[in-house]
Symmetry: C2
Subunit: 413 residues, 2 copies
Amino acid sequence: MASTDKNTLHWGELAQERLTDIASCTLSGDGVTRLPFTDEHRRANGIITDWMQAAELEVAMDAAGTLIGRRVSDGPRAGMTFIMGSHQDSVRNGGRYDGIMGVALACLAVEKAMADGDEPEFSVEVHAYADEEGVRFPTALLGPRALAGTFDPAVLEMCDADGKTLRAALDGFGADADAISGLARDPAGILGYLEAHIEQGPVLERADFAVGTVTSICGIERNVITINGKTGHAGTVPMQGRRDALVVASHIISEITARAQKLEELRATFGTLKILPGAVNQIPEVVTLSLEIRSPSDGERQAFSAMAKDYAEQAALETGCHAVMNQTYVQPAQQCHQPFVDRLQSATLAVEGSELLLTSGATHDASAMAALCPMVMLFVRCRDGVSHTPEEFASSSDMGVAIQVMAKFLKSL
Amino acid sequence: MASTDKNTLHWGELAQERLTDIASCTLSGDGVTRLPFTDEHRRANGIITDWMQAAELEVAMDAAGTLIGRRVSDGPRAGMTFIMGSHQDSVRNGGRYDGIMGVALACLAVEKAMADGDEPEFSVEVHAYADEEGVRFPTALLGPRALAGTFDPAVLEMCDADGKTLRAALDGFGADADAISGLARDPAGILGYLEAHIEQGPVLERADFAVGTVTSICGIERNVITINGKTGHAGTVPMQGRRDALVVASHIISEITARAQKLEELRATFGTLKILPGAVNQIPEVVTLSLEIRSPSDGERQAFSAMAKDYAEQAALETGCHAVMNQTYVQPAQQCHQPFVDRLQSATLAVEGSELLLTSGATHDASAMAALCPMVMLFVRCRDGVSHTPEEFASSSDMGVAIQVMAKFLKSL
């Protein structure tokens, strides 16, 4: 269902060229490694400045290291600002699209709106946040949190692997750690936030859609399940009466996964598992496994979590073992602003002739911006649903569709 | 069904005192740590020499470090020798019974036979092997292999954690590495071998028997199952269509365990499991797990292994994954000598009024002695079925029963 309209392709190819260009701002090695407040970041900001200036935006970096392109309207709603953006940083050996594509498409959407003579009657900003991935420092979302007033100054003292504090990294980059707390915007002046991002999943590809409108960003909880059984010699202890913690874990993994598969939007993942004593000829005594649950509905997530906890405890008891499940992290779901969802749907329908709604299973800058203003996201199809690898890919035609949809969305506000 | 006959208890208490005494031959720390060819071993051999001499045995150490107590008969079968024994060494932080109890009970069985006036008409030897556990060097069963002629001289160059070769350890201990290959006995002169050992499992305790006759020593095979799936973001990849290697592993563990539980004597244990990438928010791509299978019947073990391989491959395919199962180690089962089994049963029936047959899930010195002569084992109940820990325990009354049964067995030959 991808459009190959000539105009669409032109804008998409421009995006592709720009993303190829900025992919050179990386440490050596496979794919893209661009961490915040580094030389690679500085060079990338130079290129993004060019993109912003091509869209007739005035460029400045704020105290949190966010590069901001601004076009102040002389129209009737000049005091109101609509923001588009995403992050410039990547994971280690990541791809050319995650984050930076959202910055490139935002600039091109403004550029296209201007070219089409669709000057907004409100002010427009494009943001390139320094750090969303949280790879260099054990914190992330500094830029949008500063704008939303949810920034915690304590994170400034966190260190990277070389022992350098975030404060020192910011100040050395020309940002201003002490001024970050003054960045909070007045929600009354912000119309909203739109972020385009690669889907990082296979939903659009499976359904053959170039783009999709995000209705919500999933809530996340992480749990540790610890199963205590009894070890023993793998040869001398009969099968009957064994209290094998790994066998209990396997029942839990199979059953909880099967129950999650019956739900539309919920995801349950057991990503880590450790065994004590962990020897080929010893019955597993203790198994520790992680269970991450995500859902766009906090109620659904909480109910599933309670069920998983009950099931784990019961499955352990049935084998003479003992299980406990403890939550280690929780982040509520964020709903996208319904009027924005409607407008993005309409814009997509106009460009593509059909539209698809989906949820975001991952956290984004939009998650933090939700504390400041209404927000929405536009997902762009990525090949094989993969991200965070050098193989990450979005096509020129799909990005062209996204630029058209974003420009139409801007016009509709 | 434990006997508390006064005479039985006397011999059992003597065994308990001796085992308490020799437990002082240990490195410091919890439980007993007595590795071969060390000062602890040397002190233990001094104590074992006393036990042997109390049974009127002539004591000498052979070239492999086996302490041998010998009583040459002047009876009609003086040229034939019956051997009893076990190993003197322990695991790190092990208990007071594993191995050394078999040496103590063998000495006391001979001593009791003499006290009862039951002088055998054949020669008798009690052996205390240096190393069965294989803790210090990555090899074991040196003593019985030397006697059986299955000793591989290549192991002499293996090193302990301090870089000392087995050859140097033997020679420094007063044994003689170069003379080991000359130790092989002529099978024609060996009547058989009897080893008493704690059960290391719960069968006798569950059935309330002091001792049980071993009918065979299980064969062992070890396999590595590798499951290849596809990783992805735990939030963005829908549950449907995931190729989660850990979910496949959990199906395999559950099903293979359930099938093993339906078999009387077979044991299947998944003792290790590793995940790549192994992160809380990433779908498991590769899972590697070990499957150890033990059975007294090689045919049953091989059939189960083939079934497990087929099941693993099929379960992986059903989830879009790929599994391979490779055997990394195999050791065939050893059958105990049926006439010996019958005699031990009769002796147990005479002492206890009932008898129990069981298999050995673990390897013992008897496994190696089987290559030299007919063998049989007598298992002694151990508390909670545990071994290889400081909590390892066999009661005086149970050991007393074992001594009586062994003396009766000797008389029956």
